[in-house]
């Protein structure tokens, strides 16, 4: 029965993504206005606090506010740095980790509304026959540090400096001001406020213009690039800090055929080439979102597995692979289905 409804892990994941999109974008309307106060307020995915209907919101806004209003201000008055200042921050991080512990980076691959929006757009791109642009092993390394830069500058650095009075108070939540999820999720509730540019000050305008331009770029780029924003998302790097501390792990065994095969690399929406070339801890890369596509598209039994406390939840198998490729190519191009425009091709030039 379950296999009929969810013949593939991708179908199951997409169903979960749609449910979580509903919860994170419209959950407040369904579960009550004050629901956001009761779940976590520290979700490890980009559910947006500016969405008035959201069921919960991401930890990044909390981080920025705490650095801005607590730690930054307290650093100025050094004598006030006590456990009373840091405890609330620790509580937020603790709440985040209590959720993160169980699902690890599946919050990126299964829960994040921005990830779901990008995947839906990518699917539309396949139907429209748009090309696929991928990062190759030679150039993927250039984009990977950007997510750490985003975390250090926009989520941690500027809010802290704003709290200390070194930079403008308006830079207290700079990441939220450029986050595409803020615009995407509020537009999904027919709220156009967040796409309207803030014109109060130069900083407002600058960050708003940057955020809107990024949002526009991501929306179109997602037609031809898989998960374009996830690659630079500071929540991906934040989650990566904790990914080894969860019992939910992606595990890959060494296998002779891996060097020649490479299908799992093609299936990976984050272009993690290490999944094909490495094994052990190196295969569970910092960019992994635990979407499980590499497991689905591994043609050998038990080579790649998603394990929870060492118990396999999903593992690669030859039979599954054979059925999977009949439905969809590793790159996500549906087989035996209508392509609205010209057939999609891949651009491997980066």
């Amino acid at each position: 029965m379950l296999k009929t409804i969810f013949p593939t892990l991708t179908r199951f994941r997409f169903t979960i993504q749609l449910i979580m999109l509903f919860v994170t974008v419209y959950g407040g309307a369904l579960l009550g206005t004050y629901m956001v106060d009761r779940i976590s307020q520290a979700l490890p995915s980009l559910a947006c606090a500016f969405d008035k209907q959201t069921g919960d919101h991401c930890i990044l806004i909390v981080n920025q506010h705490q650095l801005h209003h607590r730690i930054g201000e307290a650093l100025v008055k050094a004598q006030e740095i006590t456990y009373k200042v840091f405890i609330p921050t620790l509580i937020s991080v603790g709440t985040f980790f209590a959720l993160f512990f169980f699902l690890n980076k599946a919050f990126c691959g299964w829960v994040c509304p921005m990830g779901t929006v990008q995947e839906v757009i990518y699917r539309i791109g396949r139907r429209l026959g748009r090309p696929l642009h991928r990062f190759e092993p030679g150039n993927v390394g250039r984009v990977r540090p950007v997510k750490w830069l985003m975390l250090l500058v926009l989520v941690l650095g500027l809010p802290l400096l704003a709290g200390m009075g070194t930079v403008s108070n308006e830079l207290g939540d700079p990441y939220c001001q450029v986050c595409p999820s803020r615009i995407a999720t509020t537009l999904l509730t027919a709220d156009t406020e967040q796409i309207a540019l803030r014109t109060g000050t130069g900083i407002n305008m600058f960050l708003g213009a940057l955020g809107n331009t990024l949002f526009g770029f991501i929306i179109i780029a997602a037609l031809a690039v898989r998960l374009p924003f996830c690659r630079i998302c500071p929540l991906l790097s934040w989650n990566a800090l904790f990914q080894r501390l969860s019992p939910m792990q992606l595990v890959k065994k060494q296998h002779d055929k891996c060097a020649k095969c490479g299908v799992c690399e093609k299936a990976c929406p984050m272009d993690i080439h290490e999944i094909g070339q490495e094994y052990g801890k190196k295969a569970f890369h910092e960019d992994c979102t635990l979407c499980g596509r590499c497991v689905e598209y591994c043609p050998d039994d038990d080579v790649i597995q998603i394990k929870f406390f060492g118990i396999p939840l999903f593992k690669s198998s030859r039979e599954y692979y054979k059925n999977r490729v009949k439905l969809e190519t590793p790159e996500g191009l549906p087989k035996n289905k209508v392509i609205w425009l010209a057939p999609a091709k891949e651009n491997r030039n980066g």
């Binding site: 407040g28 009550g32 206005t33 004050y34 956001v36 106060d37 009761r38 307020q41 606090a49 500016f50 008035k52 806004i61 607590r70 609330p88 090309p131 984009v143 830069l149 985003m150 500058v153 926009l154 500027l158 400096l161 009075g165 070194t166 930079v167 403008s168 108070n169 830079l171 700079p174 406020e193 796409i195 309207a196 540019l197 014109t199 109060g200 000050t201 130069g202 407002n204 600058f206 940057l210 331009t213 990024l214 526009g216 770029f217 929306i219 179109i220 780029a221 690659r231 630079i232 093609k266 043609p299 692979y321 054979k322 190519t329 590793p330 790159e331 891949e346 651009n347 030039n349 980066g350």
Partner: protein, 331 residues
């Protein structure tokens, strides 16, 4: 791919440059906000019967310039938004104490009577964060007056609906709902309130609305006792407007009060609910410019959608390689 890379690098680094340039202005902006906050506290202009009683007999009260109705003002006592306590100042009501109702309805100490000191009634930050109900009551002869408001303490708290709906006084005005964190009453928005007497919704009941910016209006409840307050867009230009405090990020703010009366059993009940509100959602925002920059970003990504000959060949090769892998595995 270079497009993405370049855009991302610029996005991550450029705010630093901007931040450095804006630092002195920021300090001035903070000072201006602080000054604005104090400028909002004007001296009283007394007029009504209620104001005539202010401060005479007992308790603590400070008159309000913009309304004759009783209100309860909450001010942070600690540093910044994360102050450990707030000070409640009743205005237009003579009350001996103020009662704070925690949203944790199971907490035995959830309902606390707050004694006054010179500045007002102090409420230490409760264990449960979130929304808390605050009320001051004055009873003299056949007059019962209640001032009520809601205050948000940072950190997650319990769902406040139960405590909001619990009967606390005879005549009540209850927000349905109250704006949650990261939200607030804003001009041109509609917000609902329940008017009830002894827990019974009052249909076709008149409620007065007054704002710190000078708006006065009369609302009438529907058959379910619900009034819909259309928050007035009565903010004037920048000058003379106070901001919402240290955490306001420069947002302007004003106060409103909803008040209603009910007479029963020879007693006259007057209850007011007050809060603050800000300018409309699109104040200091430009939808046209927002859409313009979004389109600019979209245009920047358009080259990614074009087919290239070399890419076509690479795509063909890749697809055949996947098919080959599948066939090999079958074999």
């Amino acid at each position: 791919m270079r497009n993405i890379l370049l855009g991302a690098m610029v996005m991550a680094v450029s705010p630093l440059v901007f931040a450095a340039a804006s630092a002195p202005a920021a300090t001035q902006a903070q000072q201006d906000r602080a000054a604005g906050e104090h400028a909002g506290h004007t001296m009283p202009v007394l007029g009504s019967e209620a104001q005539g009683r202010v401060g005479k007999e007992r308790g603590m009260s400070r008159p309000t310039a913009w309304t004759s109705f009783p209100i309860l003002k909450a001010k942070m006592s600690g540093e910044g938004r994360e102050g450990r306590s707030i000070t409640l100042v009743p205005q237009g009501i003579v009350a001996n104490s103020i009662v704070a109702y925690s949203n944790d309805i199971k907490d035995a100490s959830g309902q606390r009577q707050l004694p006054f000191d010179m500045a007002g009634a102090k409420l230490d930050k409760p264990a449960s964060g979130g929304l808390h109900w605050l009320a001051a009551r004055e009873e003299q002869g056949d007059e019962v007056r209640v001032a009520s408001t809601v205050y948000y303490f940072s950190n997650p708290g319990k769902n406040p609906t139960a405590i909001f709906m619990q009967q606390k006084h005879e005549l009540e005005i209850i927000p349905q709902p109250f704006p949650r964190e990261h939200s607030r009453y804003r001009a041109n928005e509609d917000w609902k309130f329940l008017v009830r007497f002894n827990s019974k919704p009052q249909a076709n009941h008149k409620v007065s609305l007054e704002t710190g910016n000078g708006t006065k209006a009369e609302l009438v409840s529907d058959a379910q006792g619900i009034i819909t307050m259309h928050v007035p867009d009565d903010f004037k230009s920048e000058s003379g407007q106070k901001t919402a405090g240290e955490h306001s990020h420069g947002r302007r703010s004003s106060d409103f009060v909803l008040a209603t009366e009910y007479r029963e059993g020879g007693k006259n009940y007057l209850t007011a609910f007050n809060g603050s509100y800000g300018p409309g959602a699109f104040d200091q925002r430009s939808l046209a410019m927002g859409l313009g920059f979004t389109l600019l970003g979209m245009a920047g990504a358009v080259p990614l959608l074009r087919q290239r000959k070399s890419a076509k060949q690479a795509g063909d090769a890749m697809q055949s390689s996947v098919a080959e892998t599948a066939n090999n595995k079958d074999a």
